[in-house]
Homo-oligomer: 236 residues x 2
DNA sequence: TTTCTTTAGTGTATTTGAAACACTTAGGTT
DNA sequence: AACCTAAGTGTTTCAAATACACTAAAGAAA
């Protein structure tokens, strides 16, 4: 058994997708792994891969995400680096690593990015050159490869912490959205309920949420006014 | 000129030290560099070094900090990874890199940790096996090596963001402290003034700040009551 | 021992933001 | 015309943030 002499660096992307049915995360299936030797089911994992030798971290996250899921122009933000020396050395992950890596025993440190997309504005089933890609409801995420459950938790914490302070909710909504959609998003991400009238009072103080001269269409109830996000009005 | 084929990973520690004279950061001088070829002054930098092949990130930060500054038992927390492909390739940094690295042209990604110590409880002039170690007032920090000014700014942001929410102010104070010291710390770190009575009202609600049966000694004014931090009482 | 200097320590009134709460409206469907 | 559904809207109550000025205790100086 070879002694590891260098270490590798990867990026992993925790891409959250949102629509009226809830908050989801983008996972890829390890289709190409033959887990015969340990008789395991194919596992899911976060989209991620080794960075190239001359590539910046954020550029790597964008490239890897595009290569694995065809997603482009996604808001991405670094949140944490994971470097446990044994994070890719569990038995469950060996077969897959051998099938895709030239140095499967290599230690890999990874830098986590979280991404945000609106499922209405982006193709919810991005094609992949190898392996399936799926949006999984956050509640239904099972055991993932490597330490990806921990990374997912870390991304969720970062999202919750930054949702209110960093004006990122709009990355998860369609360009035109209703106040009810905005409220539901807050409720789903922060896992608590808000009072409708108080919530709207607060939104009306945000000058970067601008009402449009347009209403919701095709709904079987009173149509809601549409709003959009104006990044130029960030005076508050 | 050799093509780089692997990349390296380092940790850099931004250790903040606090006492009644203010907030400082621990820097080391590049004494061993002979900058003759570009005629530059010796530069200061954050304590940091490459991680070992089997070492966790936090363990690396602890080890490197100890090796370079003899500091031990310091609160350390990861805050950001810096991976610009050119971050160690500026002219100003070449001479020093050649004097200490076997592969000075190597790309290095670094993971930043911030550390917190009380200058009263820790030796403020830790000895180093090579190169001087100094506490520098935050206002007096000049140009540092590599991207270390940017890393320092990132650490300061992290400290400001976490001071109130993460109960870390106590890492910067002596075990026994006065409320005035606590208030000054908040004012220095958050760069704003607080009202004395309101500040104390808020502290009295924090059950983890416990009054001691002890008073300040050797001061030429009314001695203040001492308090300490009880990590078991974190119910709020 | 008196006076001076310095920082510790304390309470109330005002303003602001957060929280609680229920009915009417507009559109599509039956 | 009646019904269903989510949109939209104000006021009251309570809690927290803010603003503000004097007395107390110790050591130093006279």
């Amino acid at each position: 058994m070879l002694k590891n002499e260098t270490l590798h660096l990867s990026v992993d992307c925790v891409v959250f997708g949102y629509d009226d049915s809830g908050l989801k995360v983008l996972l890829i299936n390890q289709k190409e792994a033959n887990n015969e030797e340990v008789g395991q089911n194919p596992m899911s994992q976060l989209p991620g891969d080794l960075i190239l030798i001359d590539e910046g971290l954020e550029a790597a996250a964008e490239r890897v995400l595009f290569e694995l899921t065809q997603l482009k122009g996604v808001y991405l933000k670094q949140f944490h680096a994971y470097g446990d020396p044994n994070r890719v050395k569990q038995l469950k992950d060996r077969a897959w690593l051998r099938s895709v890596r030239t140095q499967p025993e290599q230690r890999v440190i990874t830098v986590g990015y979280f991404g945000l997309v609106s499922l209405q504005d982006h193709d919810p089933q991005p094609a992949s050159f190898a392996g399936g890609v799926e949006w999984i409801d956050l509640q239904n995420v099972g055991p993932l490869a490597f330490d990806h459950n921990e990374i997912l938790d870390g991304a969720m914490d970062a999202l919750q912490n930054q949702l209110e302070s960093h004006h990122i909710s709009f990355e998860l909504l369609p360009k035109k959205f209703t106040l009810s959609q905005l409220q539901s998003l807050y409720e789903v991400v922060l896992e608590k309920k808000f009072d409708k009238r108080n919530f709207r009072k607060n939104v009306k103080r945000m000058s970067h949420v601008v009402p449009l001269d347009e209403k919701q269409q095709g709904v079987m109830h009173k149509p809601a006014q549409l709003f959009s996000f104006n990044p130029d009005h960030l005076d508050d």
